[in-house]
């Protein structure tokens, strides 16, 4: 008789929602993990017989799901959480955010802000964050320290900052970061031109050719506000999406963030090129930008993931809220209470986000061969009971406070609701330091 194969970790759960196959909830199943990868998903009773596990974690009243994928964030802006609420986008940018960034943005600012963000995200079940900001090397350092899987923008914007003097300088600094980190298994990259209204044609063309050459996604804000579109019509004689199309940026590797204001032509172009959308419902509502037609985009077969946006415009990096908000907003805007049902919202926050990033071979659903990026959610708080449909509960009842355990690539990051790689004391002193600096 051959001995049972050894695995590093066996996680037994009351429920497992693998996301794919769709609409599936497995009861009393287990995930076997070896070398950071899922090697099997099977009934717990069978798993105990089939595998010898170095460690077994028993989640008797939990739902186990893929780690959540935050498809759009500016992690460092966590330091500006709630700095200027109740203002429209352009005033918020011009009067509050950009001046604060001009005064304060630095390697330290970005590293500290990204550290707070990574802590908040991991504790809330997010295992991958697609980020766009200055000093991506500082964000990479922070994410790496806490073990969050990061997708970092090689960011470019036309105006000078402390970080870089012009578009070429942004790109060369971002590319240097890419070279320094490209072999790290948890750090990935995108090209991140800020937006059509802040990046020139020539730079966008360079971005398109770099994206081709390096096989990277392009991560860009598009059609967030009506004024962005009107300004583009005035300045370029066309809508931003049409301009991006002409400049060669549209394709399956494009992640268009927000995409709130879309006409039929925009949607046709996005569909034709098989683009992905990062839907950020709370940010769009808070800044009064509008409601992206997420349900309609899904009906057209477009890939739509979910993003929190930065903490300055949300003000939480909480994908549980975004799942619920996306579902509620779709029901409201379509007038159909069956629109964007719970399982669809969960898929947006996991597999669809992974696919947009070109990482769906690795993350986004629970299946053998994929990385063990996992999130366990307790269903034992009396405030969350009774529970008839775990997937519906994930979207409409439970929240990030119910997240108990998180693994990235099979390694524990959160256990019993507590972060393992950093103390609360350090997080609090970092937050308070910047609160005092920014208040001045």
């Amino acid at each position: 008789m051959t001995p049972p194969p050894t695995v590093d970790l066996l996680i037994e759960a009351r429920w497992i929602i693998p996301v794919e196959p769709s609409d599936t909830t497995l009861e009393h199943h287990a995930v076997a993990v070896l070398d950071g990868r899922i090697v099997d998903i099977l009934p717990t009773a069978d798993a105990r017989q089939r595998y010898a596990a170095a460690e077994t974690v028993s989640l008797t009243e939990h739902v186990l799901i893929p780690g959540l994928v935050n498809l759009h964030c500016h992690a460092a802006m966590t330091l500006m959480r709630g700095l200027a609420d109740d203002l429209p986008l352009m005033r918020w940018l011009n009067e509050a955010i950009w001046p604060a960034e001009t005064r304060h943005a630095s390697t330290t600012f970005v590293r500290d802000g990204s550290l707070l963000a990574a802590a908040e995200m991991l504790r809330g079940g997010i295992t991958t964050c697609n980020d766009m900001y200055f000093y991506p090397e500082a964000t990479a350092e922070a994410f790496s320290r806490l073990g969050l899987r990061g997708v970092l923008g090689i960011t470019v914007i036309e105006f000078p900052s402390q970080y870089a003097s012009d578009a070429d300088d942004y790109l060369s600094k971002g590319l240097a970061t890419f070279d320094a980190w490209r072999d790290d298994p948890l750090i990935h990259f995108t090209l991140s031109p800020h937006a059509p209204y802040t990046v020139a044609d020539k730079t966008l063309e360079r971005v398109a050719s770099l994206a081709d050459e390096l096989e990277l996604p392009i991560h860009i804000h598009i059609h967030e506000t009506l004024s962005e579109i009107n300004d583009s019509l005035r300045d370029f004689g066309q809508r931003p999406i049409s301009r991006l199309d002409q400049l060669g940026l549209l394709g399956p590797n494009l992640i268009g963030v927000h995409a709130v204001h879309l006409d039929d032509g925009d949607i046709d172009r996005l569909t034709l090129h098989n683009c992905a959308i990062a839907h950020c419902p709370t940010s769009n509502m808070k800044l009064a930008s509008g409601a992206a037609p997420a349900a309609r985009l899904l009906d057209r077969g477009l890939n739509v993931g979910l993003g929190t946006d930065g903490a300055a415009s949300n003000n939480r990096l909480d994908l549980f809220r975004e799942m619920q908000q996306a579902s509620l907003l779709a029901k409201l805007t379509t007038g159909d209470a069956a629109a964007l049902p719970a399982h669809r919202a969960l898929r947006m926050a996991t597999l669809d986000g992974a696919r947009a990033l070109g990482l769906d071979h690795l993350i986004g659903s629970l299946s053998p061969g994929k990385a063990a990026d996992l999130c366990a959610v307790r269903v034992s708080d009396p405030d969350a009971l009774p529970c008839f449909h775990p997937v519906s509960h994930l979207v409409h009842v439970l929240g990030r406070h119910d997240v108990s355990d998180v693994w990235v690539a099979g390694r524990p990051r959160v256990q019993g609701g507590r972060l393992l790689q950093i103390t609360n004391t350090e997080l609090l002193s970092t937050a308070r330091l910047w609160q005092n600096r920014l208040r001045q």
Copy 2:
């Protein structure tokens, strides 16, 4: 020298937001409580000199606010939390909720469901709940046991149930409950005809005259869906609000719940009669009913409070979420990011709700003479920092999990996040019992 006056309780807080005066945040202030009432609010340093307190609670990193007022709930429906999601209102009622109620509703069902609801609400900072359901005596019993201030509906609907055989029977049973509980200082009442489409003219007239006679508010669902309005036009030749006007129900004591679909004439009538509205944004989005024009109603000077609705259509009894949702939804629907700012949302969830219930002499803001219904919210979770504006944080960052201490009429109900009057074990076994029964 005279000794300092003795108070029962001195609560010292980092911040106090009394709601009235508006836009006021007091720093390092204290609330002095005697015989269940607030007797003073003053700087902490002065309070320590001026009062001898039997007990002092020091909340060094907390915001102290008035206990939240849930202006619309069906507490017992907590047992049906998430029973049937992603369905439109009438299918949800006809295929899921009403059949379950027909099979299960009983004194025990209502008492147990109301107990779970009261626990969830108190732990989330809600100190007053305006409820509408069958068997209000069972809800009164549950609320009273946990020390939640309850406003119970003398409920009437035209169709027979286990609870009552016809409209007269509903009213006489509700009035008997009113008589039994009317002297309880924490139990108040409304007349609660379910909705214009489920209650006949004759009954509505009786309700209006009872409300006059007993000096009670009238609590009724109105204009929740377009079909409700179209059916009324077909059956009565007028819109429901116009019908209620004609039957004598509109007045400052009317609490119209939902009020999603309003034309200019409806708003004029509501304004003319100084009616109050219970805005339930999450429920309205989830059931795809629409978005009530809350910002417009506030601009017209109408009194608009916030309600969670029941857990079967929300699926949380969480007024922190409703504050944020009301603010976000107003920004979205008006296109104005300054619409319904944070302090306004907090006032809707406290003083405006109290005023709608005719209880603003007693609760809804922190001022000497009012009952000590208080909620303390911790601002020390790293996920909530930095914090520049506490009131904005209450609406956009913090949540019910940050509630640490709750008092009703000066008596502690939640301490350090834990309920004092009931164990988690009892709550869990109650929830599981009904989960099993309802699943069958």
